[in-house]
């Protein structure tokens, strides 16, 4: 089922009502929401429900076993099973064809049957959540949950098909007590859902249909001007598309009484690539950090090893997006650039410039969830992170943060003070940090850094979007060598691109003010206002169909 459809609207209205009705009785609520989630998932293809049930049973058994026996081999077996499922469904065809071609080049027969395996929607997301749960249990960060709780965590429909990738430690505690039915942040949820809808159907789809698709489909017939616009356009399109899905998911979860971590935090305002990755698809970044980068050794095994770890992590992160060399190249480019950035920073660093990276061991006890501030984020949902460690989180150098806690790590220098045990110091530091961020911070140099990072990211998106490497190469070469008129670059498209970029400039206070204003309205005014907003969004988009979200494919 897809969010902006009639089917989903009807499904959600019924689910929302029954969910709150049953909320006081978890014994009824949990099976209900699990059933609803399976219905949501199986709506397109019921067979895949069996897959998610199998994944749930397997990982629950594994979690219990690793909790009891603390045996690394059990953990390895469970992760191998998960990756095996993912590999079979997502990568088998790509792998078999690559082997086939490589052997055909040297004149050998094909050893593997070429099959087309059906791709269950969302398998990348729920598999990653399951792995994080089993690993968390093994590390002692999370106690094994009751089967029903874990099943709900893995299948909860708002995040099931395209994230955010919610941690077990963020979600499971929310299941232990009924959600508070007296305080639903409906204005925040409405802003997230409507804002997401607008980003998707007004900005992303318009840019895609009018500019990006025609250019990427046939770069040979397009001029440099059109290609340049399409490169920027795709950067805005993928942000507006994917962050829209995350926003809608977070908003729907809020209406049901649940809090998800943020997934995007104005990524194109980042002043370094490292910062970009703390602001883009944040829940995937931290998953990769916790489950790939740090297990590989993080930055603790010397410079070369650190660089290799960064490259491996980002390349695998690229491959996660799909079985194609384009994604591998895209990930490797980011990994390579992170290495360069890190090296440059090391050369520049003076001893008193920034705090040394601190690796904090994972806490053993299960911490109580706590709401921590998420500065800089418009309409942010407070992240739930373990109370025992928020201070420790802040001092770790981003990207090398400890395995357990933390969602997004703010930049280190100002944040060192946030770690202070004195609330006053902490508060001051937070205010300064927020002010720095709100004001843009850093003057001309910061802007140069932003522009450089943004353009690097834009160019790498070419590999992400192009159907194959040859097309990506042709696009980039024509970017510089194909003068001529640019009929696809029209005022509405440029306006949509500008609006998409401008979403990074909207001060946080505006969101809060809008939210407060909306919340203060009487329900009798809220209802027509929300209805009218949705009507306007669809009127701008026109009568065409809404195209599927990009991240459905991953």
């Amino acid at each position: 089922m897809i969010f902006p459809t009639i089917e989903f609207a009807a499904f959600f209205a019924v689910t929302l009502a029954l969910s709150w009705l049953l909320m006081p009785r978890p014994r009824l609520w949990k099976p209900f929401v699990l059933g609803a989630s399976y219905f949501f998932y199986g709506y397109a293809d019921a067979r895949f429900v069996l897959l998610i049930v199998a994944s749930t049973l397997l990982n629950q058994a594994a979690a219990r076993a690793v909790h009891r026996y603390r045996d690394r081999r059990l953990l390895a077996a469970a992760v191998a099973c998960d990756l095996g499922l993912l590999g079979w469904f997502k990568y088998y065809g790509f792998f078999a064809l690559s082997v086939d071609r490589a052997l055909a080049d040297v004149g050998l027969p094909a050893p593997l049957p070429l099959l087309q395996v059906a791709l269950p929607v969302g398998i990348s997301f729920f598999t990653f959540q399951a792995i994080s749960y089993v690993v968390d249990v093994y590390r002692g960060g999370t106690a094994p949950a009751p089967l029903l709780d874990f099943a709900v965590y893995e299948a909860f429909f708002p995040h099931l098909v395209a994230g955010p990738i919610v941690r077990a430690s963020e979600f499971l505690p929310q299941l232990t007590s009924p959600r508070d039915p007296t305080r639903v942040p409906v204005a925040r949820a409405a802003l997230l859902i409507l804002g997401g809808l607008a980003k998707k159907v007004v900005l992303a789809d318009v840019i895609a249909v009018r500019l990006v698709d025609p250019v990427f489909d046939a770069p040979g017939q397009r001029s440099s001007g059109e290609i340049a616009a399409a490169v920027y356009g795709y950067a805005v399109q993928i942000y507006c598309d994917f962050s829209a899905y995350s926003d809608i998911a977070i908003g729907l979860a809020l209406l049901l009484g649940f809090r998800f971590p943020d997934n995007f935090d104005r990524p194109y305002a980042a002043r370094s690539l490292q910062e970009f990755w703390r602001r883009w698809h944040m829940t995937l970044s931290r998953w990769l950090r916790d489950h790939v980068y740090l297990p590989l050794g993080g930055n603790r095994r010397g410079r070369r090893r650190t660089h290799a770890n960064l490259l491996i992590t980002m390349t695998l992160g690229g491959l996660w997006h799909g079985a194609s060399w384009n994604f591998v190249v895209w990930g490797a480019l980011h990994g390579g650039a992170l290495v360069v950035e890190r090296q440059v920073r090391t050369w520049r660093a003076r001893p008193d410039d920034s705090p040394a990276p601190v690796e904090v061991p994972a806490p053993v006890e299960v911490p109580a969830p706590v709401e921590v501030p998420r500065p800089r984020s418009p309409a942010a949902v407070p992240a739930v992170v373990p109370a025992a460690v928020p201070v420790a989180v802040a001092i770790a150098v981003p990207g090398d943060a400890p395995a357990r806690p933390a969602t997004v790590l703010p930049p280190p220098p100002a944040l060192a003070r946030l770690a202070s045990p004195h609330p006053a110091v902490r508060r001051g530091a937070l205010h300064r940090h927020r002010a720095a961020v709100a004001g843009g911070g850093g003057g001309a140099r910061a802007w140069l850094a932003r522009l450089a990072v943004f353009h690097f990211v834009c160019v790498t998106w070419v590999f992400f979007r192009a159907p194959d490497l040859a097309t990506a190469g042709r696009l980039l070469s024509r970017l510089l060598t194909a003068p001529g008129p640019a009929p696809l670059v029209t005022a509405p498209v440029l306006a949509a691109i500008a609006a998409g970029l401008a979403t990074a400039a909207v001060p946080r206070s505006w969101w809060t003010a809008t939210r407060v204003r909306l919340a203060r309205l009487p329900t009798a005014a809220q209802i027509p206002l929300l209805t009218l907003s949705i009507m306007i969004i669809y009127a701008v988009a026109g009568p065409g169909q809404v195209s599927p979200f990009i991240y459905f494919r991953f």
């Binding site: 508070d180 039915p181 007296t182 909306l518 919340a519």
Partner: protein, 369 residues
């Protein structure tokens, strides 16, 4: 419906509240206090917004329902939306939405009931002399090509204007053809997802074809559609022709004839109608065979129209295959996961043969790479 004060939180929640308060951690304390609605009112608000949307956008709901695959959901949505639209229209409740759409520059969609596709008599049946009867080949009857204007020789300055259009099959065929043509050809692709000839109530290809001619002035229209037409066809009198029946295939042929004639404009322009490649599903593949036969038969009766059967290159011995071999012997994944569409690699195979076909029609060397 009152904003009752929250019950004292317990356990982890209390810890959370305390910590949040202590560190001033709440991102927007004022907002969090103000923005707190009781769940009951949330449910009512959400339901009210959705009901209002259904009432004010009833025509859009009908349209969405018409675009769905036949089944329970479609029946349910249309079962609600159609009566609703019948009630809201006289009350002018749909006026605000139409006004909004117009304000943002969208023309109201044409109603499928009056579609030329459904009502126009086929030229083929009206003029039996030009119609090949039954399965007789193009050799029979007067040669339709005689009335077709000879193709001009395009140049880089004045390229041949080609429009690739149809349903989602054109999503990969369009780019593949675009990338295969020489510099003397300018290709545009117009993909209309989920459309076909069976459902002018959802999308009317007859009126769209006329609009395309006015907007884009194509000299050649390459059509790929039918992927969504493996379903019953409703005639204007309400009778449904079940998919797979001879009457259904005949009606499809008639509609293909109507839309081909619009595009060719009695021989001024050319149409290349691409046959559907085999489908993985046997049921669908059976329908596709019938649709292909119908389209091929229609093309023989329309001056300027050509039907191209791609099966020899997009199958293994006529049978569906995910992986196919290219001309240079490489194995590629040619079909998408749904077993209907072509991947870009598959579309490239098709594009090669589309180009070969066109080179046979245009003057020698006119379309040389």
């Amino acid at each position: 419906m009152t904003t009752c004060s929250p019950a004292p939180p317990s356990g982890p929640e209390r810890a959370a509240t305390r910590l949040a308060a202590a560190s001033e951690a709440a991102p927007a304390p004022e907002a969090d206090v103000v923005d707190a609605m009781p769940a009951r009112r949330v449910v009512v608000t959400v339901a009210a917004v959705l009901v209002l949307l259904a009432v004010l956008r009833a025509p859009a709901m009908v349209h969405a329902g018409e675009g769905m695959r036949p089944g329970t959901t479609r029946a349910l949505v249309l079962g609600v939306a159609r009566p609703l639209a019948r009630v809201t229209h006289p009350l002018r409740l749909d006026a605000p939405d139409r006004g909004l759409a117009r304000a943002f520059g969208h023309r109201p969609g044409s109603s499928g009931v009056a579609s030329e596709l459904a009502t126009a008599a086929s030229q083929a049946t009206a003029n039996p002399a030009a119609a090949p009867h039954g399965a007789s080949g193009p050799a029979g009857g007067p040669a339709p090509a005689a009335i077709v204007a000879p193709p001009r020789r395009p140049t880089a300055a004045d390229p041949l204007r080609v429009l690739v259009t149809g349903d989602s099959l054109t999503e990969t065929l369009g780019p593949a053809i675009t990338n295969a043509v020489p510099g003397t050809v300018r290709v545009r692709t117009e993909t209309r997802y989920g459309t076909g000839l069976a459902r002018p109530d959802f999308f009317d290809w007859a009126s769209r074809a006329r609009a395309q001619l006015g907007e884009q002035h194509p000299e050649l229209v390459i059509v790929a559609m039918g992927g969504n037409d493996g379903q019953g066809i409703t005639r204007p009198d309400g009778t449904v022709l079940p998919a797979g029946t001879p009457a259904w295939a005949a009606e499809y042929q008639r509609r293909a004839d109507v839309v081909m004639r619009i595009w060719t404009g009695s021989g001024q322009r050319r149409v290349l109608w691409l046959g559907l490649p085999p489908a993985r599903s046997h049921r669908l593949d059976g329908y596709f065979h019938q649709l292909n036969t119908a389209a091929a038969a229609a093309a023989t009766g329309v001056p300027g129209a050509t039907y191209l059967d791609l099966t020899p290159w997009l199958s293994r011995g006529g049978a569906y295959s995910d992986y196919l071999s290219t001309a240079d012997g490489r194995t590629v994944l040619a079909r998408s996961r749904d077993g209907v569409h072509l991947t870009l690699d598959g579309a490239r195979i098709a594009a090669t043969h589309v180009l070969d076909t066109l080179r046979g029609v245009w003057p020698p060397g006119a379309l040389r790479p």
